[in-house]
Symmetry: C2
């Protein structure tokens, strides 16, 4: 007798746990020195996870890759914020953020997740790149890699999810995007009318209610993260930098902190569901500066980088 088929949420959890293994192994290899330290934890109200952080590596000042699979009861005020009904939820996924030591190497963030709430369940995620010094060919490589992977599933995905990313990773108080963007998507596989919270900026495709097809897409995105990012690390790892570039990096990291604490839904969701604080806030950069009224000198590489970020270009265009 064949074993019973596993549910999609169980299979997603297995994929995410393995994805964490593959990513941490590749990061240790390219870093060539740092090692991830793992904390396995259980959530008193249900579920748990494995948080892995590499600190003070050769290339990475801080790299965090978290796997979690939590379940339980939502706080009543959160029920309305999500598709589905009732209090029962399960959320599983991988979140990562890499803060390189060199200001010449961009910071990258990625997340893939599966959420179940009552009778509804869906996939979400994305990845976005935050350079300190924008190199157009690097931003183009990142976006083209994502576009090519998206196009294998649906030609509407890349333009829609690129735009959603631009809208999401934006600091309204600064009127600045966080970086050069990437992909952001949510509610895939949940059915037609599931646009609670922040709706996608364009109409959804018919097969977006097909949970298996969307699981295949999310596996593609999970596999694409390092394909989009690591070639940039390889290109920039020997680029020279000094105090000036480090200073700019630390100031720009302040914007990262502002975004995550003021606006990021994952941070807010995590803190409101009594998530593990150290795992949620592992995204924060290791060292940061805030300086009052700092503006880059007009015409400087810093000013040009900021202008390139604010322009929100179509980086994938050939």
């Amino acid at each position: 007798m064949a074993p019973p088929a596993k549910s999609i949420d169980d299979r997603a959890a297995v994929f995410f746990a393995e994805l964490q293994d593959r990513i941490t192994a590749e990061i240790e290899k390219i870093d060539g020195g740092g090692r991830f330290r793992e904390d396995s934890w259980t959530r008193p109200a249900g579920g748990g996870g494995r948080t892995r952080v590499l600190a003070d590596g050769n290339l990475f000042e801080k790299a965090g890759v978290g796997f979690s699979d939590v379940h339980g009861q939502l706080r009543p005020e959160m029920v309305e914020a999500l598709p589905g009904d009732g209090l029962d939820f399960r959320a599983t996924g991988v979140s990562l953020i890499f803060h390189p030591r060199s200001p010449r190497i961009p910071t990258v963030h990625a997340n893939v997740r599966h959420v179940q709430h009552g009778a509804r369940s869906w996939f979400g995620g994305g990845t976005d790149l935050t350079p300190y010094y924008v190199v157009p060919e690097d931003a183009a490589h990142f976006h083209r890699t994502l576009r090519d992977r998206c196009d294998r599933h649906d030609p509407s995905f890349y333009p829609r999810f690129k735009r959603w990313c631009d809208e999401y990773f934006f600091l309204p108080h600064r009127n600045e995007p966080r970086g050069v963007g990437g992909l952001f998507f949510d509610y895939l596989g949940a059915g037609a009318e599931t646009t609670a919270g922040q709706p996608p900026p364009a109409a959804s495709s018919p097969h977006e209610s097909d949970a298996e097809a969307m699981f295949a897409f999310v596996r593609e995105v999970g596999d694409a993260i390092l394909a989009a990012y690591l070639p940039i690390v390889e290109r920039r790892r020997t680029d020279v930098w000094g105090d000036r570039e480090r200073h700019w990096q630390l100031v720009r990291r302040g914007r990262y902190v502002e975004f995550n604490l003021l606006y990021d839904r994952g941070t807010v969701f995590g803190l409101r569901t009594d998530g593990r604080v150290e795992s949620i806030l592992m995204s924060l950069p290791p060292e940061v500066r805030w300086e009052y009224g700092l503006l880059p000198e007009p015409g400087s590489p810093e000013a040009e980088s900021l202008a390139a970020i604010c322009a929100r270009r179509d980086w994938a265009r050939d």
Copy 2:
């Protein structure tokens, strides 16, 4: 003919502007090197201010003292959050934060303000101390100074406003108070039933609806800020410290950032009323660290300091 009596909000604005002058002069004197740089600004939607920041002083790594007097129309979703009615508002006050270079000297924050919303107006404010290494006699000096000044106006003020401060400057996700507390108060002089937003933890005194009496109290608090803080600076300025103490200071400053961006009402109010971003975020420390899973060694001075903060003692008790 005598000139027409000025309204209480105009007189409050004059007091706050002069308070900024006195405080910045005293801070430059004790620093003995740093100078405040002033930015005067106007708010397109109404009013303006003077932001003064001293960076890289002898004692102060960053000291910010902001005066503002802004008015205009609230965003509709904010009307409910404040006593009063309609969209018209005026808010004037002084906010300050001093980040000393030495981890032996505490950070201090203070604010005194007058807010008018429709037919209602009130005073609010407070001051709180955030030591990196708690010295009980310093915390006692800070609290006793505030208690003595409060007692001149109402014996219920110090215990109530001390408790409100403990409740307000608290990081629920860390289950940690921000520091050793001080005073926090709001809605003074507005009348009886004005407890919108966060209500005071105890019943109000009858003369709290007397705007003139509450203005006198706020002047007392404004004058008490440096009386409570500067003697601590003088006591600790020659205390030795090294890399270990600096590291702890930078990590603890991370908690300050977390509080201000996740919870602080002034920050949220400022960003939602299209306030001047650099003036609102001048409160953020100049240099900060986040380290995953950092816990002070049991029995170390850092662990003892954190325990003293979490104990929320009655520091003023003789």
